[in-house]
């Protein structure tokens, strides 16, 4: 009884904050999204979103960019996580700092850094031109590729740290056991390392996917006018067009599809075996 009460008291402040700044505004936004221009209750906004091909393409583009970002962070991040897992505590710390240090700088500045690097006169294009590998500059910016590059840079730390954490938990004698049973290093990776790092991979994918779906700054800066994603359009509806109800409906479309996809993914991954192996 006493214990219960003290727990309630302990979580009360954070609950109050969550309620005040998160749940109540969410509720108000939701009510807003159910209004038409005459401020009458209506489902018109949602009907528009699911019927207009423009908005369906917008949704699909947002998902597509997020999936590419997940794939890039996974493929680039896994080796870094493996390196950290094999390194000494000191090296792990150094690598973690190197990965997190860019987050000390505003994402706006980092994106502008990319603009300088990837632009038509950026050093990548200049170098390739100079080497004669291309004869006109590649388009690396203001398209989906640019957005994926920017988002990968912004979120790869989450993927690396999530995977590294689960790799740290693997008993290294399992690698010896696999080797002595006849497994080459590649076999060991696919049959031992990868399956045992699954909880970290799942966490990383979920994190990076949700973050990419709702990312605003990077698509706005590196996608230009051609790669608009839901957060960017929602922003425009609210700030420029002043169509708040449609902006709110877009926000809930984003939230709903993120939750749906993430839970679908969880369903897919969490097989009977996964639960038996990874839950206590």
């Amino acid at each position: 009884m006493n214990r219960r009460l003290s727990i309630l008291l302990l979580i009360a402040p954070s609950m109050a904050v969550l309620l005040g700044v998160f749940l109540i505004p969410m509720l108000l936004m939701f009510l807003l999204s159910l209004q038409d221009e005459a401020e009458q209750f209506s489902l018109a906004n949602y009907l528009l979103l699911v019927q207009d091909p423009y908005y369906l393409e917008l949704l699909w583009r947002t998902i597509r960019v997020s999936l590419w970002t997940v794939l890039c962070t996974l493929l680039l991040g896994f080796p870094v996580a493996m390196f950290m897992a094999n390194a000494s505590g000191r090296v792990r710390g150094i690598v973690a700092v190197l990965i997190l240090a860019p987050h000390l700088i505003s994402v706006v500045i980092r994106n502008f850094g990319w603009v300088v690097i990837l632009g038509e006169k950026g050093w990548i294009n200049e170098t390739l031109l100079w080497l004669g590998l291309i004869d006109k500059p590649l388009r690396l910016l203001y398209n989906e590729l640019g957005v994926v590059i920017g988002l990968t840079d912004a979120f790869i730390a989450y993927m690396v740290l999530a995977i590294a954490t689960s790799l740290y938990g693997i008993d290294t004698s399992l690698y010896k056991a696999a080797a002595i049973l006849g497994a080459s290093r590649i076999r060991t990776f696919f049959s031992v390392t990868l399956p045992l790092s699954l909880p970290g991979v799942v966490a990383g994918i979920t994190l990076v996917f949700s973050l990419s779906m709702s990312a605003f700054v990077t698509p706005a800066l590196m996608g230009g006018s051609s790669v608009k994603v839901i957060p960017v359009i929602a922003y425009e509806q609210i700030m420029s067009t002043l169509n708040w109800p449609l902006g709110a409906a877009l926000a809930f479309l984003l939230l709903g599809s993120s939750i749906l996809l993430v839970s679908l993914f969880a369903r897919l991954v969490e097989t009977k075996r996964y639960k038996e192996v990874f839950t206590a």
Binding site: D171, L174, A177, A178, A179, I180, L181, G182, A183
Partner: protein, 367 residues
Amino acid sequence: MSSLNSMIDVELRNIQKRFQQNVVVKDFSLQVERGEFVSFLGPSGCGKTTTLNMIAGFLEPDEGDLFIKGKRMNGVPPYKRELGMVFQTYSLFPHMTVAENVAYGLKLRKVGRAEIEERVKRVLDLVKLPHVRDRYPKQLSGGQRQRIAIARALVIEPSLLLLDEPLSNLDAKLREELRDELKRLHQEIGVTTIFVTHDQEEALSLSDRIVVLNHGCVEQIGTPTEIYNQPASEFVHTFIGKTNKLSGRVTAVAAGRVTVETDGGLTVEAGEQRQPFVAGQRVHVFIRPEKIRLTDAGRTPNGGSGQLVMASFLGAFTECEVRVGDHLLSVKVQMVDSTLNLNPGQTVGCSWNSDDVLIMPAARDAG
């Protein structure tokens, strides 16, 4: 290869291993015959695991050659050595069922499905755990995990089985049970085995031969009885079991028999020794507690009488301490051969056979 050599499954020739400046394994040479059970016995940090890891291929020797089945193995990676190994921490794959764990090595060898099924079943029967095949490792007890680890190592029919302290994580009773199990398995399938332990009882009961290691050096290689009865060094004798150590001086050497006058005032006669002694030499005399008999005071052909200081009953035997002269002797008394009342303070006699007395030269600084 001569026919003599083909019976040697493992050969270490002057193996040496350094970590930075520390020499961890020094000039290790050993031949293990087909079907033999050899133990590496020694205190913590003496280089047992390091040597085993060199045989397995996880470490490369800095000097010397390693042969398995007559083939030089230096530089061959572990996954090409066709060995079985059981680790101290079991190291079962947590994401695979017992059957999948056991089948792992067979799948890598591209054995057919039906045969895998058959061999997994056979080896699980061998370790008497056919009913756990569909469980995950964490659903097994410690002893069961260890048996499955052994099954996984054996199923590939390795040319050599390496065991690194496989019993040390188990409680005392289970240890003994699995020790007997290991012995039975070895008798049944006869796989050449190298067993690492720091427990002398395990080594004595299981091995055909024991390699006693200390600080990376081989102290002695011999059968359990040789190691126990004819230790090559003081280290071997003291490591293998409890003992009484008395300092003294040789007074007479005649017809292989050595007489020592101890500093505590005892005269000890010893039978033939591995090394020669001369009169006047400073020596240590060793007598094991279980080799000393308690008798009525007075009649002591080789021994002395003294006062019983302490007696603690331990079930199968009683551990006593007897003050004889200036020495405090530990004596292990089997209750069967004793009709004595063991009351502290009473006077008792201690006697032993001269053949059970071991003499070692004292180190120079002690003389």
